[in-house]
């Protein structure tokens, strides 16, 4: 390992303040902001991918805008969205489903 290589801390010393009295709300704000950040990272990367493709003669941005799904693609996407919804709301489902003693 290079002697100048150094692993830097990423957290400040000490306790983080709690602004909300509800349990977990402060952590939830962090999660939402981390998700928003990574969503932005993806959006910026997609922007760059389209720009690079355009620069090389592939009009990706225009073709993406004009793209029409086939029936099969539409059905596949519908199924993917359903899976995503179930994952997103999985904790609600668990709380609300009837007690299954056989499970």
């Amino acid at each position: 390992m290079d002697p100048a290589a150094q692993s830097l801390p990423v957290d400040a010393e000490g306790r983080r303040p709690a602004f909300f009295s509800g349990d977990g709300v402060d952590q939830l704000v962090t999660m939402v902001l981390e998700l928003a950040t990574e969503l932005w990272v993806l959006r910026e990367r997609v922007f760059v991918i389209e720009a690079v493709a355009d620069r090389h003669g592939l009009p990706l941005k225009a073709e993406v805008e004009a793209y029409v799904f086939s029936d099969a693609e539409r059905a596949a996407l519908e199924a993917m969205r359903g899976t995503m919804m179930r994952q997103l709301f999985r904790t609600l489902n668990r709380d609300h489903r009837p007690v299954d003693t056989d499970a």
Binding site: S7, L8, R16, P17
Partner: protein, 394 residues
């Protein structure tokens, strides 16, 4: 948008890190402008009237305002998001700095070898507890003395994201605004030796070298890490500045060594005891007829209770433990206690030099100070607060 640093030591961040920096910079802009305005409106429309009814009078202190705001959901989200954004600033730059570190020391050594300003480190210096024992600004690892320039690099790259361009093209607008205040307010004053105390990465010391190119400019800090970085940074910008590892409350310079002693955003990092020691030292190292000038957050006495509370947020939630204690003081009392004359104090506000037409800047320099909710806070209509004193001529 984050400022793109223009010197050779800037870290090369990968695409995703740059996107994270873009995001957190915009997030901070949203917090400090939109959310801040929304929170103030909420205070004025609902919280202040309710508080006035409860107290039987309008709130008189920032503590009364803070106690009421702490219960408010808007304040909770404002604070929580702002605290997170502060953490995210550092997290967005640290991977790039880590990747740059193996080459950074060599780069600095090469820049330092070019000549110009000198660097003198003192490995025996006792690092004060306010630097060694505290991650000020929530900067992971703090500014403390390390053998590598990591702390300097994290601070410089982080400040470029944090300030979203408000601090000028080289993060030097405070130094440019203060030095140009002196240049235009006191045109017959021609400083030859200038000292910046608590200079960190030397961004503002370099600005003084730009404004007064014939002067010899020195910067001191207790951290070897930030000073090594500062030296390479100034060399890269072609500005000869001499950096010394010293405690500003116990300077190793001879009496009457400087025409100007300058600080920026430094005093609020010190305990009151150390502030007093610093002013006594500043008085000692200034020559008779020399100028002490400090850029700082405005004193609480100049602001309404809500604006006091708003600016002191950092004291409670951003690891700035001495922030409020300083802002509660009378700056002239502190300066007078350091040995300056009671009639030699002056204070002023100036617009940002980097973003103001020269004629408007000169007009503002000669106008009386004006304080409002944007004095000293990063916002679109920012103006800087400064105060100082002349050392009596013999």
């Amino acid at each position: 948008m984050p400022l793109e640093l223009s010197h050779e030591l800037k870290a090369a961040h990968d695409r995703d890190s740059l996107a994270r920096q873009d995001f957190v910079s915009s997030l901070r802009g949203f917090i400090l402008n939109d959310m801040a305005a929304g929170m103030k409106a909420r205070f004025e429309d609902e919280i202040e009237p309710a508080l006035t009814r409860a107290l039987g009078r309008p709130p008189r202190t920032q503590d009364e305002v803070h106690a009421a705001m702490r219960k408010d959901t808007y304040f909770k989200f404002y604070s929580s998001v702002r605290y997170n954004a502060q953490e995210m600033v550092w997290r967005a730059v640290i991977p790039g700095v880590e990747a740059a570190l193996p080459d950074l020391s060599r780069q600095i050594d090469e820049l330092s070898a070019k000549g110009g300003g000198a660097l003198s480190l003192n490995p025996d210096l006792d690092i004060p507890a306010n630097v060694a024992g505290l991650d000020v600004h929530l900067m992971p690892g703090g500014y403390a003395n390390t053998e590598t320039p990591a702390a300097g690099a994290v601070y410089d790259n982080g400040l470029a994201v944090f300030s979203a361009g408000f601090m000028g093209p080289n993060l030097d607008d405070i130094g440019l605004s203060m030095s140009n205040y002196v240049k235009h307010r006191f045109p017959d004053f021609h400083p030859e030796h200038i000292l910046d105390c608590g200079c960190t990465v030397g961004h503002n010391a370099a600005a003084w070298a730009r404004t007064f190119p014939d002067a010899e400019v020195h910067g001191v800090d207790v951290s070897a890490s930030v000073l090594r970085y500062a030296h390479g940074r100034a060399q890269s910008l072609g500005l000869p500045v001499h950096y010394h590892q010293m405690d500003a409350t116990d300077l190793a310079f001879e009496d009457s060594s400087f025409d100007v002693v300058f600080t920026s955003m430094f005093l609020h990092e010190l305990s009151l005891k150390d502030i007093k020691r610093f002013f006594a030292e500043a008085h000692r190292v200034l020559r008779p007829g020399g100028l002490l000038i400090n850029m700082e957050l405005p004193p609480n006495r100049e602001l309404k209770p809500y604006d006091q509370f708003y600016l002191d947020w950092d004291c409670y939630y951003n690891k700035e433990p001495f922030y409020r204690a300083f802002r509660d003081q009378s700056p002239e009392d502190l300066i007078i206690a350091g040995g300056f004359g009671p009639n030699d104090y002056f204070q002023f506000t100036v617009p940002q030099f980097s973003f103001t037409e020269e004629a408007a800047f000169i007009a503002a320099v000669n106008a009386p100070p004006s304080f409002d909710g944007d004095t000293g806070r990063l916002s679109a209509s920012l103006n800087w607060f400064g105060f100082g004193a002349w050392k009596a001529k013999i």
